[in-house]
């Protein structure tokens, strides 16, 4: 059986938990950032309460917890620039795309033009995206 030495797989990290109430959002993000070094084809999906992870203006000072939300801004630099947010999940929660952090990446193929990383997709589109993946991790 042929073994590929350097194989690129499609990784999807699915995020369904809100931030701060549990550790999954924070530690999940750490996996994505560290995993970026492996140069796989990576994307993230935010479904259900996971969409709250991308909410702007998070301030954890009084709660006395780590505010890890700035770390999402680093994703673009790590070439993680496909952040799929489920439209139905936003709507159910009374959120719009304007409530989310303006996360961007720089496309070197287009003269480093700054582009949005967040892509709001429908449930049906997300279902298709799931099928395309090789490895799916859930946080």
């Amino acid at each position: 059986m042929e073994t590929k030495v350097s194989e690129t797989k499609k990784f999807m990290y699915i995020n369904r938990h809100a931030p701060h109430g549990t550790v999954y959002a924070h530690e999940g993000l750490e996996v994505v950032l560290i995993g970026a070094a492996f140069e796989q084809d990576v994307c993230m999906a935010f479904i259900g309460d996971g969409v709250f992870q991308l909410k702007q203006d998070q301030d954890t000072t009084e709660a006395g917890m780590k505010n890890f939300s700035p770390a999402y801004r680093a994703l673009g630099d790590y070439e993680v620039n496909k952040l799929y947010v489920e439209r139905e999940s936003l709507e159910e929660r009374g959120l719009s795309e304007d409530d989310l952090m303006p996360l961007t990446w720089e496309d070197e193929d287009e003269d480093w033009a700054e582009k949005p990383s967040i892509r709001v997709v429908s449930r049906a589109e997300l279902s298709d995206l799931l099928e395309e993946q090789d490895v799916i991790l859930n946080f």
Partner: protein, 130 residues
């Protein structure tokens, strides 16, 4: 088939570690290979040798250690999650100025890269958690 398994919750509080163990055992019995079992989030708590559960209940930590010994399994506890939760081997104890270590036999502490590698190298990666 080459499997890797991810365990996201600690022993007893959730069934995740139990199900992961039973799946791993069944896969081995069917002749499959287990590339790695990776413990993350509270799953790192499966790697402490300090548990002393009641005699009439399963010993989750020992079960993993014994399975690892019998099948030369690679049980990896994530270093970042372990540091947060106090799962320590001798090196980590020294590095962080702790007065003891508690890692169980058959487990080793390593980085998140081991999880990504498992995803790349395995045919199937299964996640057990809450």
């Amino acid at each position: 088939m080459k499997f890797s398994v991810m365990v996201n919750e600690g022993p007893y509080t959730h069934q995740a570690s139990d199900t992961a163990y039973q799946f791993t055992r069944a896969a081995l019995a069917a002749g499959h290979e287990i590339f790695r079992v990776f413990f993350y989030h509270d799953g790192v708590n499966n790697g402490t040798r300090m548990t002393a559960p009641p005699q009439d209940d399963r010993n989750i930590v020992n079960r993993w250690s014994e399975l690892a010994a019998a099948h030369e399994l690679d049980l990896v506890v994530c270093v970042a999650a372990a540091q947060r939760r106090g799962i320590v081997d001798a090196d980590e104890a020294k590095r962080n100025g702790k007065d003891g270590d508690n890692i169980a036999p058959g487990f080793r502490i390593s980085g998140l890269g081991q999880l990504i590698e498992a995803g790349i190298q395995s045919d199937r990666l299964l996640v057990f958690g809450d």
